[in-house]
Amino acid sequence: MKIIRSMVLVSADDESLARGAQDVFHAFLEEIDEFGLSDQITVTTIRDAGMHGEKPTVIVYPDAAVYGPVTVEDVHTIVEEHLHKGNIVPGLLAMMREMAPEIGWMRGRRGALPVQKRIVLERAGVVNPASIEDYILYDGYQALGKALTKMTPAEVIAEVEKSGLQGRGGAGFPTGRKWSFVAATPGSPKYVICNADESEPGTFKDRLIIEGDPFSIIEAMTIAGYAINAHEGFIYIRGEYPLAYKRIEHAIAEAEKHGMLGEHIFGTDFSFHIHPHAGAGAYICGEETALIESLEGKRGMPRARPPYPTTYGLYGKPTVVNNVETLASMPAIIRNGAMWYREVGSPKSTGTKVYTILGNVNFTGVIEAPMGITLREVIDIYGKGMKNDKALKLVQTGGSSGTIVPASLQDTPLDFDAFRNAGVSLGSGALLVCDEDTCVVDLAKVILRFFRNECCGKCTPCRIGTLRLYEIISQISEGRGSLDDFDLMQKISEAMSEVSNCGLGQTAATALRDILKYFRAEVEAHIVDHVCPTGVCPIKELAAVA
């Protein structure tokens, strides 16, 4: 198995080609071979690096160094100095002010923390999760101490706002702003809820965080409580995570014993209590208002919004709901300050993001990377390449409710902003990598079956829509579809995304919509020619029966 350490991307748009990009590309191949690095470094062409007047442009990952204009003579220096010795060659870098907005994010990455820097997963897998001593040894509770004894609640909120932290639970709402809404809303008591329901298929980052570093969540919730003047918090833990529940329970008891939770924390007048709560295995209970209903002992169905939980949350009181990963970023921000945090990631999406990589790559697991890395990097460097050297077909980002990114868009940086512009969702951070053997109809069928099963049934567009879409796609997969199905699927998915009550119905058809957009021909082959191009769908037998 080849371990790719680094990647070289050469721009190959018309202008770059006219200026000798092809020779530059070949020069890289030769020089890299010369240095015996062929096994560790890939050279790829990309259409356009978005640089104007600096072509041909060469991007070296994972440092995200942008060189340009690069001539054949420069290649030797770049390979020797940068790829061989590991030093970026400042003299050959492209002028950053020339950089097109699409890759303006790279400026934020330069000089940032090394790629392997962990913020959220700093302690997970390093400390003993049952030991508060280990937690304190690795800087635990410094943030809470600082907040309680040296900062006012307003200062804590201001610091979080300044850090640019956006919610990691899916929607990417700015965390500081959410806290300030709750702080400003009259009403008491107020509540802090940690959303650890994590039922998005393919996502298991929150589990890793809670199981590996439970104290960080407790500390962060206590900080949140201080910031918004709440004295009670709830952790809603997915029912299938009994180990996470046990570790949180233990951590709460330990924290109380050491005066880090309960009455008079850090010897101050502030008190805060945390109650763990186990879910019962419904995807919809991850949606914040359904979660609140469930906590109140009712059936887990989303409320109509507005009012949002920030004004009308648990028991009708102002409530902060935050994802596990969002909270796990908090102690480091308070400890080191907002400006420290802003140095990581891209300017508009700060910090790191935890991703779960799964599917047809050599390495599956959990990684933490700065905001703004690209799918190509995730697959080749973190995922250590495609399994069996197959070709990449698509990536589904953000779990089942997320978007489908075709291989041609793999250079889009993974951050909230760039993704929004490209119509892609970062969602929960699950990256499902699919190779050429994946059938898009089959993929859509699996996804739609999930939503058909998990729809709570409260609103009609979602209840009927998820069922109908599943029926239609099943028929197509059996070779019994018709061309009219395209219009019908389009209509149903539009209606669902527009009028469903909550995010489940609004996003259930996202993947289908993207598949119809990027892979229409493949779906048509099922309908018109009764052929599944990848041979996954069970068309033949059924056609014979009919």
Partner: protein
């Protein structure tokens, strides 16, 4: 346990912990760490933990500490066993079987020879 009352208390408590760690490390303490996340447990980490405890007992390694930690993100390498001897760098073993535990304890802990067959690169991150 006296409760921590201030940042000053926290600092003192932390220094005590560091002192304790240092003392153990300089005494050549052996630590065997099993990663017990759900993924590890599903792959058989609890059996590995049992095996480690049994082997430590069988070989009379009275000073060795068997402890646990969370998932390190390398779910495809589970079960994972980490070995720390004194202040030497940590060695990470992947896809550890019950049989492998015996070899690791005998060859690595007792004889000081790392069992290369099971060693994995513990950084999923590119090191530049």
């Amino acid at each position: 346990m006296k409760k921590i009352q201030s940042l000053e208390d926290l600092k003192k408590f932390r220094e005590q912990i560091i002192e304790e760690k240092r003392r153990k490390a300089s005494a050549g303490k052996v630590e065997l760490i099993v990663t017990l996340g759900s993924c590890g447990i599903a792959a058989g980490a609890l059996d590995v933990l049992q095996a480690v405890k049994a082997q430590v007992k069988a070989d009379h390694l009275d000073g060795a500490v068997v402890s646990e930690t969370g998932c390190i993100g390398l779910c495809h390498h589970e079960p994972i066993l980490e070995v720390v001897i004194g202040d030497q760098p940590k060695v990470t073993y992947g896809r550890v079987t019950v049989d492998a535990v015996k070899r690791i304890v005998r060859e690595h802990v007792l004889d000081g020879k790392v069992v290369e067959d099971y060693v994995i690169d513990a950084t999923p991150f590119p090191t530049i």
